[in-house]
């Protein structure tokens, strides 16, 4: 019985030893040494480049981008012409009152003006007109209109006797 047990044990050991002998193949792929030496050589070259300090490079690049953006902004701003809206037209010049808008804003004595208008709004409008007159003039595309003064005829009321 014991001999049978020992025999079986020996058989199992042989099978396990056979499996273990082939568990790890004996030979690697051909050329392993060359691949190892090549990888070591490549790894030794690469760190020399990776020790470069990239921070100054990024700083220079960022500075260049900023300068380019500023230059583009300056150039585009300098090309925009300053445009004025109003031109000194000869006909309008002849009939123009010193401050037509101010006259409309300030009606003659006895005539009621708009209760919502204020002197602040009048000043702003006056400033806007003054600014428009100060810049270069651009010809307007409409035909001149002869503005004739309106004759004011006093109303005569007949008195009946």
């Amino acid at each position: 019985m014991r001999d049978e047990s020992d025999r079986l044990d020996g058989l199992l050991d042989n099978q396990i030893d056979g499996a273990l002998a082939s568990y790890t193949p004996r030979e690697p792929r051909p050329g392993l040494e060359q691949r190892i030496l090549a990888s070591v050589a490549a790894a030794e070259i690469l760190p020399r480049h990776s020790t470069w300090n990239w921070r100054p490079v990024w700083t220079l690049a960022a500075t260049a981008v900023l300068l380019a953006a500023v230059a583009i902004a300056v150039v585009s701003k300098s090309r925009q012409p300053e445009v004025a809206v109003v031109e000194h037209h000869p006909v309008a010049e002849a009939h123009r009152s010193p401050n037509p808008i101010a006259m409309q804003m300030n009606p003659a004595p006895g005539i009621q003006g708009h209760p919502a208008r204020s002197r602040t709004a009048e000043a702003e409008v006056g400033e806007t007109v003054a600014k428009a007159r100060s810049g270069p003039m651009i010809p307007l595309n409409f035909a001149p209109i002869d503005v004739k003064p309106i004759a004011i005829v006093p109303i005569q009321i007949a008195v009946l006797n």
């Binding site: 082939s22 690697p28 190892i36």
Partner: protein
């Protein structure tokens, strides 16, 4: 500098000789642990790269022991989650057999070996690794203990335990029981 090129050539030649002496051994150590030829080769390359850097290889007393420890550690890191089926391709298994047996017996042996390899892979790592390193046939028990960082008695006990588990699995497969 005139001597630098000559020194570099000598250094390179000496390191190349080290690679030539131990590359196969390092690869097999890594393969026994990683169970994947690609990972094993990567671990072998990384082993020699680590040894080369800092000129450590010039000061090694026990080359085999040192390289085995480094390779084992790197292979353990690369070890992927284990599967019950074999990780080595079957064509590699077939190339290793050179027995003069009948085709039927050969097929049965192959099937049994494949099954046993799967059972070895399924062992807990603390049992499988000492067994696999011992199976290489290139390391003494004391060297295996040095690689694993364990006492020699612990390594011997774990190898015995692993073999007992495999025997039990074999008996269960055969449908019998082992009384000893």
């Amino acid at each position: 500098m005139p001597g630098t090129a000559g020194e570099d050539a000598q250094t390179t030649g000496t390191f190349a000789a080290l690679v030539e002496r131990h590359s196969r051994f390092v690869y097999r150590i890594a393969l026994a642990v990683a169970r994947n030829p690609a990972d094993a080769e990567d671990a072998a390359q990384e082993t020699f790269l680590q040894v080369y850097r800092g000129d450590r290889w010039k000061a090694i007393e026990d080359e085999r022991g040192y390289l085995a420890r480094v390779a084992w550690r790197l292979a353990v890191r690369r070890r992927k989650p284990r599967m019950l089926e074999q990780e080595l391709p079957m064509e590699m298994e077939g190339e290793l057999r050179s027995r003069e047996t009948s085709p039927e017996q050969s097929a049965m042996d192959q099937q049994l070996e494949a099954w046993l390899h799967a059972r070895i892979d399924a062992l807990p790592e603390k049992l499988r690794q000492p067994l696999a390193l011992a199976a290489l046939g290139e390391l003494k028990l004391v060297e295996i203990a040095g690689v694993l960082g364990l006492p020699e008695g612990t390594v011997r006990r774990r190898i015995h335990t692993a073999r007992q588990k495999l025997k039990q699995d074999l008996l269960e497969r055969k449908g019998g029981s082992h009384e000893g």
